[in-house]
Protein backbone atom coordinates (compact mmCIF):
# COMPACT_ATOMS: atom_id res chain seq x y z
CA UNK A 1 0.00 0.00 0.00
CA UNK A 2 1.39 3.37 -1.02
CA UNK A 3 0.99 6.12 1.51
CA UNK A 4 -0.03 9.39 -0.05
CA UNK A 5 -0.69 12.86 1.15
CA UNK A 6 -2.02 15.94 -0.60
CA UNK A 7 0.32 18.73 -1.58
CA UNK A 8 -0.93 22.08 -2.74
CA UNK A 9 0.17 25.33 -4.36
CA UNK A 10 -2.61 27.31 -2.78
CA UNK A 11 -0.41 29.88 -1.09
CA UNK A 12 1.64 30.50 -4.24
CA UNK A 13 -1.47 30.86 -6.36
CA UNK A 14 -3.11 33.14 -3.82
CA UNK A 15 -0.15 35.44 -3.37
CA UNK A 16 0.38 35.59 -7.13
CA UNK A 17 -3.10 37.09 -7.38
CA UNK A 18 -2.31 39.36 -4.45
CA UNK A 19 -5.13 37.94 -2.35
CA UNK A 20 -5.23 37.56 1.41
CA UNK A 21 -6.56 34.39 3.00
CA UNK A 22 -9.70 36.27 3.96
CA UNK A 23 -10.26 37.49 0.41
CA UNK A 24 -9.83 34.01 -1.04
CA UNK A 25 -12.16 32.67 1.63
CA UNK A 26 -14.76 35.22 0.56
CA UNK A 27 -14.35 34.21 -3.08
CA UNK A 28 -14.60 30.49 -2.37
CA UNK A 29 -17.40 30.88 0.15
CA UNK A 30 -15.51 29.26 3.03
CA UNK A 31 -13.94 30.45 6.26
CA UNK A 32 -10.44 31.91 6.46
CA UNK A 33 -9.50 29.07 8.80
CA UNK A 34 -10.35 26.60 6.05
CA UNK A 35 -7.95 28.35 3.68
CA UNK A 36 -5.30 28.49 6.40
CA UNK A 37 -5.54 24.79 7.24
CA UNK A 38 -5.60 23.70 3.59
CA UNK A 39 -2.56 25.85 2.79
CA UNK A 40 -0.66 24.32 5.68
CA UNK A 41 -1.66 20.76 4.88
CA UNK A 42 -3.51 20.40 8.18
CA UNK A 43 -6.83 19.80 6.46
CA UNK A 44 -7.44 17.75 3.32
CA UNK A 45 -10.32 19.39 1.42
CA UNK A 46 -13.17 17.47 -0.18
CA UNK A 47 -13.46 17.31 -3.96
CA UNK A 48 -16.16 19.98 -3.77
CA UNK A 49 -13.95 22.36 -1.84
CA UNK A 50 -10.93 21.63 -4.03
CA UNK A 51 -12.99 22.47 -7.12
CA UNK A 52 -14.33 25.63 -5.49
CA UNK A 53 -10.82 26.79 -4.56
CA UNK A 54 -9.45 26.03 -8.02
CA UNK A 55 -12.34 27.85 -9.64
CA UNK A 56 -11.87 30.87 -7.39
CA UNK A 57 -8.21 31.08 -8.40
CA UNK A 58 -8.89 30.44 -12.08
CA UNK A 59 -6.89 27.21 -12.10
CA UNK A 60 -7.58 23.53 -12.53
CA UNK A 61 -7.65 21.23 -9.51
CA UNK A 62 -4.57 19.39 -10.85
CA UNK A 63 -2.63 22.64 -11.03
CA UNK A 64 -3.56 23.48 -7.47
CA UNK A 65 -3.25 20.09 -5.80
CA UNK A 66 -0.88 17.20 -6.31
CA UNK A 67 -0.14 13.85 -4.72
CA UNK A 68 2.91 13.37 -2.54
CA UNK A 69 3.95 9.72 -2.29
CA UNK A 70 5.78 8.76 0.87
Amino acid sequence: VVERSLGNRLKDARTRLDLTQAELALLAGVSRKTINTVENGVFVPSTLLALALAQSLGMSVEELFYLVEK
Binding site: A25, L26, S31, K33, T37, F43
Partner: protein
Protein backbone atom coordinates in the same frame (compact mmCIF):
# COMPACT_ATOMS: atom_id res chain seq x y z
CA UNK B 1 -9.72 39.30 -12.95
CA UNK B 2 -10.88 38.41 -9.45
CA UNK B 3 -14.19 39.90 -8.46
CA UNK B 4 -14.49 40.37 -4.72
CA UNK B 5 -18.19 41.09 -4.78
CA UNK B 6 -20.46 44.07 -4.40
CA UNK B 7 -19.29 47.43 -3.09
CA UNK B 8 -18.88 48.10 0.59
CA UNK B 9 -22.18 49.80 1.23
CA UNK B 10 -25.81 49.40 0.40
CA UNK B 11 -29.19 50.99 0.74
CA UNK B 12 -32.75 49.89 0.16
CA UNK B 13 -34.81 47.14 1.75
CA UNK B 14 -32.70 44.58 3.64
CA UNK B 15 -35.29 41.84 3.78
CA UNK B 16 -38.93 41.47 2.76
CA UNK B 17 -41.05 43.92 4.70
CA UNK B 18 -38.10 45.82 6.11
CA UNK B 19 -38.20 49.60 5.88
CA UNK B 20 -36.08 51.40 3.34
CA UNK B 21 -32.77 52.70 4.64
CA UNK B 22 -32.56 56.45 4.68
CA UNK B 23 -29.00 56.44 3.45
CA UNK B 24 -26.06 54.23 2.59
CA UNK B 25 -24.88 52.16 5.52
CA UNK B 26 -21.44 50.67 5.33
CA UNK B 27 -20.76 47.07 6.23
CA UNK B 28 -18.46 48.28 8.98
CA UNK B 29 -21.30 50.26 10.58
CA UNK B 30 -23.55 47.20 10.51
CA UNK B 31 -20.79 45.08 12.03
CA UNK B 32 -20.18 47.73 14.70
CA UNK B 33 -23.89 47.67 15.57
CA UNK B 34 -23.75 43.89 15.90
CA UNK B 35 -20.72 44.07 18.15
CA UNK B 36 -22.53 46.59 20.34
CA UNK B 37 -25.38 44.13 20.76
CA UNK B 38 -22.96 41.33 21.56
CA UNK B 39 -21.36 43.47 24.24
CA UNK B 40 -24.79 43.98 25.77
CA UNK B 41 -25.53 40.28 25.57
CA UNK B 42 -22.25 39.46 27.31
CA UNK B 43 -23.01 41.89 30.14
CA UNK B 44 -26.51 40.47 30.55
CA UNK B 45 -25.19 36.91 30.72
CA UNK B 46 -22.42 37.92 33.12
CA UNK B 47 -24.78 39.83 35.43
CA UNK B 48 -27.40 37.07 35.48
CA UNK B 49 -24.76 34.38 36.05
CA UNK B 50 -23.23 36.27 38.98
CA UNK B 51 -26.65 37.05 40.47
CA UNK B 52 -27.73 33.41 40.09
CA UNK B 53 -24.60 32.03 41.69
CA UNK B 54 -24.65 34.52 44.58
CA UNK B 55 -28.39 34.15 45.14
CA UNK B 56 -28.26 30.38 44.89
CA UNK B 57 -25.28 30.12 47.22
CA UNK B 58 -26.86 32.46 49.77
CA UNK B 59 -30.12 30.55 49.82
CA UNK B 60 -28.33 27.21 49.89
CA UNK B 61 -26.01 27.92 52.78
CA UNK B 62 -27.81 30.57 54.81
CA UNK B 63 -31.47 30.20 53.93
CA UNK B 64 -34.01 27.95 55.51
CA UNK B 65 -34.32 24.47 54.07
CA UNK B 66 -37.22 25.18 51.77
CA UNK B 67 -35.19 27.95 50.17
CA UNK B 68 -32.86 25.37 48.64
CA UNK B 69 -35.52 24.32 46.16
CA UNK B 70 -36.60 27.93 45.67
CA UNK B 71 -33.04 28.92 44.88
CA UNK B 72 -32.83 26.28 42.17
CA UNK B 73 -36.06 27.48 40.63
CA UNK B 74 -34.71 31.02 40.76
CA UNK B 75 -31.52 29.93 38.99
CA UNK B 76 -33.56 28.06 36.38
CA UNK B 77 -35.86 31.06 35.85
CA UNK B 78 -32.91 33.44 35.55
CA UNK B 79 -31.26 31.10 33.05
CA UNK B 80 -34.44 30.85 30.98
CA UNK B 81 -34.86 34.62 30.95
CA UNK B 82 -31.25 35.07 29.85
CA UNK B 83 -31.70 32.53 27.10
CA UNK B 84 -34.88 34.28 25.93
CA UNK B 85 -33.05 37.64 25.93
CA UNK B 86 -30.19 36.17 23.92
CA UNK B 87 -32.56 34.59 21.39
CA UNK B 88 -34.31 37.95 21.05
CA UNK B 89 -30.97 39.68 20.50
CA UNK B 90 -30.03 37.15 17.82
CA UNK B 91 -33.40 37.17 16.10
CA UNK B 92 -33.76 40.93 15.89
CA UNK B 93 -30.47 41.99 14.37
CA UNK B 94 -29.66 45.34 12.86
CA UNK B 95 -30.81 45.57 9.26
CA UNK B 96 -28.77 43.50 6.79
CA UNK B 97 -26.73 41.88 9.58
CA UNK B 98 -27.38 38.41 8.27
CA UNK B 99 -26.80 39.12 4.62
CA UNK B 100 -24.25 36.75 3.17
CA UNK B 101 -21.77 39.56 2.55
CA UNK B 102 -21.76 40.69 6.19
CA UNK B 103 -21.68 37.14 7.55
CA UNK B 104 -18.72 36.34 5.30
CA UNK B 105 -16.82 39.27 6.81
CA UNK B 106 -17.60 38.08 10.33
CA UNK B 107 -16.73 34.41 9.82
CA UNK B 108 -13.58 34.52 11.95
CA UNK B 109 -15.33 36.46 14.69
CA UNK B 110 -18.31 34.07 14.77
CA UNK B 111 -16.14 30.98 14.88
CA UNK B 112 -13.96 32.41 17.64
CA UNK B 113 -17.00 33.24 19.75
CA UNK B 114 -18.13 29.64 19.34
CA UNK B 115 -14.82 28.37 20.70
CA UNK B 116 -14.94 30.77 23.64
CA UNK B 117 -18.27 29.28 24.72
CA UNK B 118 -16.86 25.76 24.52
CA UNK B 119 -14.01 26.54 26.90
CA UNK B 120 -16.62 27.23 29.61
CA UNK B 121 -17.92 23.67 29.74
CA UNK B 122 -15.48 22.24 32.30
CA UNK B 123 -16.22 25.26 34.48
CA UNK B 124 -19.94 24.48 34.31
CA UNK B 125 -19.25 20.97 35.59
CA UNK B 126 -17.23 22.35 38.50
CA UNK B 127 -20.07 24.73 39.35
CA UNK B 128 -22.67 21.98 39.25
CA UNK B 129 -20.55 19.30 40.96
CA UNK B 130 -21.23 20.05 44.66
CA UNK B 131 -24.98 20.30 44.11
CA UNK B 132 -25.07 17.12 42.01
CA UNK B 133 -23.24 15.12 44.66
CA UNK B 134 -25.32 16.49 47.50
CA UNK B 135 -28.69 16.02 45.83
CA UNK B 136 -27.86 12.56 44.49
CA UNK B 137 -26.84 11.49 47.96
CA UNK B 138 -30.15 12.77 49.34
CA UNK B 139 -32.05 10.58 46.94
CA UNK B 140 -29.81 7.55 47.44
CA UNK B 141 -30.29 7.83 51.17
CA UNK B 142 -33.91 6.84 50.75
CA UNK B 143 -35.37 10.24 50.12
CA UNK B 144 -34.28 13.49 51.61
CA UNK B 145 -37.91 14.20 52.49
CA UNK B 146 -37.86 11.59 55.21
CA UNK B 147 -34.27 12.24 56.17
CA UNK B 148 -34.69 15.95 56.68
CA UNK B 149 -38.31 15.88 57.79
CA UNK B 150 -39.35 18.07 54.90
CA UNK B 151 -42.65 18.02 53.05
CA UNK B 152 -42.56 15.43 50.28
CA UNK B 153 -40.78 16.48 47.16
CA UNK B 154 -39.24 19.71 48.33
CA UNK B 155 -35.71 18.47 48.94
CA UNK B 156 -35.51 16.63 45.64
CA UNK B 157 -36.88 19.56 43.66
CA UNK B 158 -33.41 20.99 43.28
CA UNK B 159 -32.15 17.76 41.78
CA UNK B 160 -35.11 17.46 39.44
CA UNK B 161 -34.74 21.04 38.27
CA UNK B 162 -31.05 20.50 37.73
CA UNK B 163 -31.57 17.27 35.81
CA UNK B 164 -34.61 18.45 33.88
CA UNK B 165 -33.20 21.83 32.91
CA UNK B 166 -29.47 21.91 33.62
CA UNK B 167 -28.34 18.74 31.90
CA UNK B 168 -30.50 19.02 28.76
CA UNK B 169 -29.53 22.69 28.47
CA UNK B 170 -25.88 21.73 28.55
CA UNK B 171 -26.43 18.98 25.99
CA UNK B 172 -28.48 21.20 23.70
CA UNK B 173 -25.92 24.00 23.99
CA UNK B 174 -23.11 21.60 23.13
CA UNK B 175 -24.94 20.37 20.07
CA UNK B 176 -25.95 23.89 19.07
CA UNK B 177 -22.42 25.18 19.37
CA UNK B 178 -20.82 22.16 17.74
CA UNK B 179 -23.32 21.69 14.92
CA UNK B 180 -24.38 25.26 14.39
CA UNK B 181 -28.06 24.43 14.83
CA UNK B 182 -30.34 27.06 16.36
CA UNK B 183 -28.39 29.92 14.83
CA UNK B 184 -30.05 32.18 12.28
CA UNK B 185 -30.06 30.52 8.86
CA UNK B 186 -27.44 32.84 7.41
CA UNK B 187 -24.89 31.94 10.10
CA UNK B 188 -25.44 28.19 9.97
CA UNK B 189 -23.12 27.58 6.99
CA UNK B 190 -20.33 29.38 8.87
CA UNK B 191 -20.82 27.22 11.93
CA UNK B 192 -21.19 24.05 9.89
CA UNK B 193 -18.59 24.44 7.16
CA UNK B 194 -16.37 21.62 5.94
CA UNK B 195 -13.55 22.33 8.38
CA UNK B 196 -15.99 22.55 11.31
CA UNK B 197 -17.47 19.20 10.34
CA UNK B 198 -14.03 17.58 10.26
CA UNK B 199 -13.15 19.12 13.63
CA UNK B 200 -16.49 18.06 15.06
CA UNK B 201 -15.97 14.46 13.97
CA UNK B 202 -12.65 14.35 15.86
CA UNK B 203 -14.15 16.08 18.90
CA UNK B 204 -17.13 13.72 19.07
CA UNK B 205 -14.76 10.74 18.80
CA UNK B 206 -12.91 12.09 21.85
CA UNK B 207 -16.20 12.54 23.67
CA UNK B 208 -17.11 8.95 22.83
CA UNK B 209 -13.81 7.65 24.22
CA UNK B 210 -14.34 9.75 27.36
CA UNK B 211 -17.86 8.39 27.84
CA UNK B 212 -16.60 4.83 27.30
CA UNK B 213 -13.78 5.23 29.82
CA UNK B 214 -16.07 7.09 32.22
CA UNK B 215 -18.70 4.37 31.89
CA UNK B 216 -16.12 1.70 32.68
CA UNK B 217 -14.96 3.62 35.74
CA UNK B 218 -18.56 4.08 36.89
CA UNK B 219 -19.17 0.37 36.39
CA UNK B 220 -16.07 -0.58 38.36
CA UNK B 221 -17.01 1.84 41.12
CA UNK B 222 -20.55 0.48 41.14
CA UNK B 223 -19.32 -3.07 41.62
CA UNK B 224 -17.56 -1.96 44.78
CA UNK B 225 -20.30 0.36 46.02
CA UNK B 226 -23.46 0.71 43.87
CA UNK B 227 -24.14 4.28 45.00
CA UNK B 228 -20.78 5.38 43.58
CA UNK B 229 -21.96 4.38 40.10
CA UNK B 230 -25.08 6.53 40.41
CA UNK B 231 -23.01 9.40 41.74
CA UNK B 232 -20.53 9.05 38.88
CA UNK B 233 -23.03 8.94 36.00
CA UNK B 234 -23.90 12.67 35.79
CA UNK B 235 -20.19 13.39 35.68
CA UNK B 236 -19.63 10.78 32.98
CA UNK B 237 -22.35 12.40 30.85
CA UNK B 238 -21.24 15.99 31.43
CA UNK B 239 -17.55 15.06 31.30
CA UNK B 240 -17.97 13.44 27.88
CA UNK B 241 -19.69 16.56 26.58
CA UNK B 242 -16.97 18.73 28.05
CA UNK B 243 -14.21 16.62 26.48
CA UNK B 244 -15.86 16.92 23.06
CA UNK B 245 -16.39 20.65 23.53
CA UNK B 246 -12.86 21.40 24.68
CA UNK B 247 -11.29 19.21 21.99
CA UNK B 248 -13.28 21.12 19.37
CA UNK B 249 -12.10 24.42 20.84
CA UNK B 250 -8.47 23.21 20.80
CA UNK B 251 -8.76 22.10 17.15
CA UNK B 252 -10.33 25.43 16.26
CA UNK B 253 -7.50 27.31 17.92
CA UNK B 254 -4.93 25.16 16.10
CA UNK B 255 -6.69 25.85 12.79
CA UNK B 256 -6.44 29.55 13.52
CA UNK B 257 -2.76 29.36 14.35
CA UNK B 258 -1.45 26.84 11.87
CA UNK B 259 -0.36 29.60 9.52
Amino acid sequence: MIDLGPPNSHSGPDRPGAPMSTGAVTDEQIIAQLRGRQRWARWVVFAVAIASVLGGAFAYYFGRRHMIAASWWAVAAAGSLTLAALIWLMRTPPAAAYEARIVAKRTDELQRSRSRVLWLFPLQILLFAPAIIKETQHILDGGADRLLGLPRGIATTGYLVMMAIGLPTMMVTTLMVLIGAGYPKAIRPVMDDELSRAQRAKAIASGFVASFVGGLIALAAGLIQPRWAVLALPFVIMGSLAVAAVHFAILDRQADASG
